[in-house]
Structures are given as C-alpha cells and as structure tokens.
C-alpha cells in the first residue's frame, strides 16, 4: 500500500508537465501572471455564469419542441402566465432554484433532459402523455423536499394577508401551511400545467 502510494507520487513528480507547472516562470513577469490570471478568471467566470443564465431563460426552455408544444402551451391559459397585474412566472422561476449551489445541482440533474431530447424520449404528444405522471411525480417530490422553495420565492407566508383571502383559503392556510403540516405543492398541484392521472395521489379521488 505505502509502496504503491510512493510509486504513484514518484510518477506524478517525474511527469514533465507537472514539473513545468511546479517550476517558477522563467520569462513571464509576476505582474503579468497575477493580472493575467485575474483577467482570465473574470472572463471564465463571467462566461460561465452568462452561459448558465442563458440556459435559465424561457426562450431557451421553449427552444425544444417538447417543452414548447406541451408544457408551455398548457401554461399559457393559467394564472401564472396571464393575470390582472401582468406579473408572470417563467419556466425557471418555478423549476430552477434561485440560489447558486442548488441551481448548479439542478442544472446537473437537468443534463438528463438533454439526453432525453437527443434520444427523443418524449418527442411526441403520446410519449409525453405516457410519461407525464413520472415527470410530474419527480417535480412534486423535488418541491416537497425543498419545502416548495420556488413557490416561496414569490409567495411568502409572512406576507399573506388572510383577511384578504377567501375564507376557505384562509382557514386552509392557517390550518395546514402556517403549522408546517403541509407545503404548497401538497395542495396546489397542476396549477400551471395539466395533471396526469391522479388516481392514488394523496388528496385526490
């Protein structure tokens, strides 16, 4: 074991590229290296985040016809797309966490969707409908696990004025939401897209 580690270390230090990387620069100035490193860092980091933000737009999401023809079309009739005040939610508002670490984690999971697009797992309406329950369950599970974080980015329970709500809504929120017994997605399923077959889902007949 120890001999193996020492042999691996010896190979590592003996590698020509590693030796170059670890030896001090002969021709380049310290200022060039530090400032150049700084500028390159800004470019790489900025470029990465810019690319990330481009994938975080509705235009990007609906550039795939799977999204454009199914879920985006269904969203259009709902209150999250058209309403009296004209404030609306776009795809990433609900489906991508806003906080950076979680966003990256979600983006990595979403690479599966690229795979699905390339291999056409839901490239027809029939295929989409057949998989809809599975897809919906994944989203419900994700939102339940993070306590409906994406809902709460806009709908804060602290700012809810129960007096302005319908009495039924107010009592339900008081009983279930404020006590932490339930989270938004437990009751508000299918508010932005059509529902899959709901038999067996808790709270549905």
């Amino acid at each position: 074991m120890a001999a193996g580690i020492s042999r691996a270390w010896g190979w590592f230090r003996g590698n020509r590229w590693v030796q170059t990387a670890l030896s001090p620069p002969t021709y380049l100035s310290l200022a060039f290296l530090t400032l150049g490193g700084f500028v390159a860092g800004v470019i790489f980091w900025g470029g990465f985040n810019t690319a990330l933000e481009i994938t975080n737009t509705e235009k990007f999401c609906t550039s795939c016809h799977e999204m454009e023809a199914n879920v985006f079309e269904e969203l259009k009739g709902t209150v999250h797309f058209t309403n009296r005040s004209g404030v609306r939610a776009t795809c990433p508002d609900c489906h991508v966490p806003h906080e950076w670490t979680n966003k990256i984690a979600r983006k990595m999971q979403a690479s599966k969707e690229v795979w699905g697009h390339i291999f056409g797992s839901i490239d027809t309406r029939e295929k989409f409908l057949a998989l809809r329950k599975h897809l919906a369950e994944r989203e419900w599970e994700r939102m339940k696990a993070n306590d409906s974080l994406e809902c709460r980015n806009c709908h804060s329970s602290e700012s809810m004025d129960l007096a302005k709500q319908n009495p039924r809504a107010a009592s339900a929120h008081e009983q279930f939401l404020f006590t932490g017994q339930r989270t938004c997605i437990d009751c508000h399923k299918g508010i932005a897209h059509r529902l899959p077959d709901m038999s067996g889902v808790p709270g549905w007949q």
Binding site: T78, V79, P196, Q205
Partner: protein
C-alpha cells in the same frame, strides 16, 4: 299549372310573414344588432365567491357552486371538486359531501364511490355570477304558489 303556382305563392306568403313577425318577438340574446354584424363580446363576469349556500328553487335542483372554480381540473385524469367534496375529504374541507344519488349507477346499483355518469360535476353544478339576466326570470317557487302568505323574502336566485 298556373293555378298551382298561384296556390303555392299564396301558401308561402303567410309562412314568410310569420317568420318575419316571430323573429321580431324572439328574445335577442345577442343584443339589438343583426346577426350578420359582428359585435364585441361582453366582458367576462366575475364568479360569486362568498361561500354562502344558495337555496334551491325546487328540491331536485342541483345546488349551485358558491365559490370560484377557475382553473380547477375536470378531465379524465383529475377531478378537483372531489378533493373537497368526496366523502373521505369532507372532515378536513368542511365542504358538503356529494349526494348519495351520486353513488348510484343508472340501474340503481349503489357503487363504492362516485358513479362514472356523475363524474363531470359542472354538467349540473355551476358557479354563479352577478351578471344581468338576458331574459326576465318569471320562475315562481312552488311554495309561493301553494302558500303565498307564508313566504320569506327571497334572496339571491
């Protein structure tokens, strides 16, 4: 030949005239403009959401819905109404349970749950708006006919 043509004309005349006369008397739900002219649609009415139960006009009347049902799922996959009005959810929702008649199929057999023929709630139960009626409502409650002196003041129809 000439006589039959004349008879035909004579008999068509009153029909045409009657059509014109009755057409003027028919209630014009779409307003005074002729149907050939496209008129702007009236604005959508807001649904009544006061949650106050509305009296039925006759015992068999399907009760009307005193809350908004905007965006409620009602298709093959999901029935949002049943999330509150199904028997097993009425304790937490405090909503009225669907009537026992809704458990029976058309042969009168009682089933374990909502009968398929009763699945589409909005076929009979509808939300209300405060829209002005398009035609005058001359409906009279049967109690009002039988015991006119014992009738309380009517609220919303």
């Amino acid at each position: 030949m000439k006589r039959s043509v004349f008879a035909a004309l004579i008999s068509i005349g009153p029909c045409l005239a009657a059509g014109a006369i009755f057409a003027q008397d028919a209630p014009r739900l779409r307003g005074p403009e002729p149907f050939t002219k496209e008129t702007p649609a009236p604005p959508m009415q807001r649904q009544v959401t006061d949650d106050v139960r509305v009296r039925r006009n006759y015992p068999d009347q399907p009760p009307v819905i005193p809350h908004s049902i905007e965006g409620y799922a009602m298709d093959l996959n999901a029935n949002k109404c049943m999330s509150c009005h199904a028997r097993k959810f009425t304790d937490q929702s405090q909503a009225p349970m669907i009537s026992v008649t809704h458990y029976q199929d058309r042969d009168g057999n009682t089933l374990g749950g909502l009968a398929p023929r009763r699945y589409v709630c909005v076929a009979c139960h509808v939300p209300q708006t405060t829209a002005r009626p398009l035609v005058e409502n001359v409906f009279t409650d049967m109690d009002e006919l039988a015991e006119p002196e014992r009738q309380p003041e009517r609220g919303r129809h």
